[in-house]
Amino acid sequence: MSGGLPFALRMARRELRGGLRGFWVFLTCLALGVAAIAAVGSVRESIARGLEREGATLLGGDAEASFTYRFASDDERAWLASIATEVSEVVDFRSMLVVERDEVERGLTQVKAVDAAYPLYGEIRLEPAMALADALAGNGALPGAVIAPALADRLALAPGDTFRMGTQEFVLSALLTGEPDDAGDGFGLGPRTLVQTEALENSSLIEPGTLFETRYRVALSEGADLATLEDAAMDQFRDTGLRWRDSRNGAPGVSQFVDRLGAFLVLVGLAGLAVGGIGVSSAVRAYLDAKTEVIATLKTLGAESRTIFAAYFAQVAALASLGIVAGLVIGGLAPILASPILEARLPVPAAIALYPGPLLEAALYGALTALIFTLWPLAQTEQVRAATLFRDVADRGRRLPRPIYLLATAALLALLVGAAAWFSQTWELALMTAGGILGSLILLALAAHGIRLLSRRLARSRLVRGRTALRLALGAVGGPGGATASVVLSLGLGLTVLACVGQIDANLRAAIARDLPEVAPSYFFVDIQPDQIDGFLARVEGDDAVSRVDTAPMLRGIITQINGQPARDVAGEHWVLDGDRGVTYAESPGARTTITEGTWWEMDYTGPPQVSFAAEEAEEMGLQLGDSLTVNILGRDIEAEITSFREVDFSTAGIGFILSMNPAALRGAPHTFISTVYAEEAAEAQILRDVAASYPNVTAIRVRDAIDRVTEVLAGIAAAVTYGASATLVTGLVVLIGAAAAGERARVFEAAVLKTVGAVRGQILAYLAVRSALLGLAAGSVAIVAGGIGGWAVTTFIMGTPWAFEPVSAIVVVAAGIIATLLAGLAFAWRPLATRPARVLRARG
């Protein structure tokens, strides 16, 4: 290397001596991208640490053993007592809270019945403040209860009022404003009610077959080994249906949700970094274009291409390091500075601090992105020839860099995707996101090229004759050296992410909130006792407003083994194996059932147990006809052979069981019935009143309420993702402003020439405005197509719901594109308009 690396470094230092003024787009783009990822990662890590630190409080104990449908046996109680310093028993189930006034009002509630030891850790907060034991003791005549404020508001209840659950009256002692183990309990369809377990004795709510769960929280002595205890519990009670959780992961649902959402937001952040990469690339290109003479001069003086490459690579590396460090400082400190707001608004505990892991991850992404987007322009320094200095016409044709640079770019890209997949722990999602970003970039690049060709053609067409501003704008968009490519790519990608999120959100909401109530039942009635089912059916089937009633016996069971092997070893982390599932039985498949493979058992079959399994889930789990499943129901193992697969459609919110067994297999097991009632909306209230009056133990879940609850959760997720996407858009705007600023000199020159040939300021302003608006329109339109394709792919292939183009969010995206480019363009229009032609033209002479 001529002069070697020392010369290259000296050269880099000399060139950077001029300061960083020309590099603000470069630095801002990289810093913003890195900061967004670092901030999301830091918050995710803070929540993970918070959940870990508060594990025991969230769980309600150091460890928890839980059972479905039953209380712990004497053996199980004895074992738990032997390992614990204290044990607390909690019963969890859904019920209806009934208030009898002039009109009877009902509200679905998630009941937690507790003993005197509850809560083992943390504190219950009540309004008015009082001890939980006092609140639940009641007023002497009636047992006490505390309920969540949302439920009290809905039923207009205040402390001192009374209400009924099942057949038991309660007095409301206080409102429940804080529950330490709330996040660990998972998703509930109704607001919380807290009562003493012994107060339920006469409620007829905890009957054989009723769907309830018992949880035994244990406080352990200092230094107890949770892993050993879990092994011991599983060794002794695996087959009794005991499930084990401990404070190592106190709120697995929450922690998994936060982890997934965090991972997804980091991936969305990568889209922001890609947008930043375009800004970085444009900045480096512009910088190196301005250095053409310097490079040619250096070559004239004998510098080799690689020396020059090294000199400029060193400059870019120094700048990139600065941008990354700035991003890490912003991203790392932002959650700490915002911690009062974050801690107040997050529903889960967060230990907000500076964590090196997420910062390293963000730095790695930043470095890889900077390398990927600058290698190509840097490689083009090799194409500058010494003769450039003496040639009349500049050699502006861009050729591909040497294969080594293309290979290096591809390898860096693979490394970035690999890192994203490794950090996010979700290969599929990471690959899909990377594919989406890459696909969008390719589509946007092609679109930018197409837009230039089209603009060039339109500029010459008869259509724009006489429309000078439009013709000039089209000529500028289609001409060489314009900002078309970088604006369409950067703003376009930002808007694509926004359009994609908008399409997915709108379609998902449409599927759940608009389409689902059309096909979904009005009510789910659960916990209908066998002796109540005939009367229940007589009431609902005899109603003219009821169009359909589906009923099925229901038990709950856990699939513990597949072909004699632990189920998780065979089918991995499939959701069907998460906790217990509904199990039903039937003599015949029923009119609406489609058997996809195998045969249903014969009528009155009494042989070894057989099971019909949901076809789609069976395929995902790798199950075959003839496989044997061990299902633990109420502590009893039932081994059944899979003899058929059938279609189960969960999208209509109707009754759908993964497992359906032959009746003899479950004979004797206590169970209840579940029923779905499809009724006209006007008749829903009367049906509920009648059923609740006749069968107080039966819980009714109004599907519209459940849909509202799910929609609320989805809205929260959509908001989080939209914030993530907005970060991408902000970076896109920086690139846009950078492009407008970089083009200001060119606009000043154009304005001077146009004034010379007779253009007035109004015409120049119109030209600049139309030019900006055209770029925004182009970026927005391409974003709708790319975002639409992304939205369609996610909706169709991942969510499996029908897709329809959603015009409102699309119009917003196009309008945002036009407004953004227009504002950026017009912000830099002042100098071109104010320019005096002679000064500008002579300065360039």
């Binding site: 009349d392 502006r396 000039l472």
Partner: protein
């Protein structure tokens, strides 16, 4: 001069430099008649180009008056000047000053479009053909040589058939052969359309082709000679 196309009376130009005000033109008075070809010569920094810019309304005189075709340019605002140039003037620069994002044809068509000519493109094509560049109509400035770019600039200046053609060292960036070709074209265009031509040049042989030569020195008109006298 009764039929003066350009008329300057005590025209002055003072610019603010870093070290204080700089007097570029210190009181120029002259008249140029219709159809005249005038060469402006003088050493670098004498104020030739500045004087040309005043004549074109591209620079505003800081004192005195500058009139063109009977209109006082010093009284016009920026837009009025632009409209005046659109209707009556064509300007050619040493550095061509084509808009890089436009093709040769679009560059030539721009003043015609601004003037509202429906047949701007057809006329621009004809102008390009007249300077021998019909085949380069779709090329961008960066794809053309300096000589070709200057020919496009000439076509652009001549296309609206201006009354006044102003040229600021139009061959200054070109080699001998290209420079000669451009001058032949410039004088040919003037002869065909009968415009008044004012030309700034360093080359005595170009000045010699004009009817009249103005020599500037230190911001003042040093000599104003009809060509025959200058030759003598």
């Amino acid at each position: 001069m009764a039929d003066a196309v350009l008329s300057l009376h005590d025209a002055r130009l003072t610019l603010q430099g870093n070290a204080g005000p700089v007097e570029i033109l210190r009181g120029i008075s002259l008249e140029i008649g219709q159809g005249e070809t005038v060469g402006m010569v003088g050493p670098s920094g004498s104020g030739k180009s500045s004087l040309l810019m005043l004549m074109g309304g591209l620079e505003r005189a800081t004192g005195g008056t500058v009139s063109a075709l009977g209109h006082d340019l010093t009284a016009m605002n920026e837009d009025a000047l632009a409209r005046f140039r659109r209707a009556h003037m064509g300007v050619v620069f040493q550095s061509f000053h084509l808009i890089p994002t436009m093709t040769a044809l679009e560059n030539v068509a721009t003043p015609l479009e601004l003037a509202g000519h429906a047949d701007a493109m057809e006329r621009a094509e004809a102008e390009l053909a007249a300077v021998g560049l019909a085949a380069r109509a779709d090329h961008y400035p960066a794809q053309m040589s300096g000589g070709e770019q200057q020919r496009v600039a000439l076509a652009r200046a001549a296309a609206p058939r201006p009354d006044i053609l102003l040229a600021d060292e139009p061959t200054g960036n070109l080699d001998g052969a290209n420079g000669q070709a451009i001058m032949d074209l410039l004088f040919g265009l003037r002869d065909r359309h009968g415009a008044t031509l004012v030309l700034v040049t360093h080359a005595p042989e170009l000045a010699a082709r004009c009817d009249r030569t103005l020599r500037l020195a230190d911001g003042l008109l040093d000599r104003d000679t009809p060509q025959r006298s200058a030759a003598e």
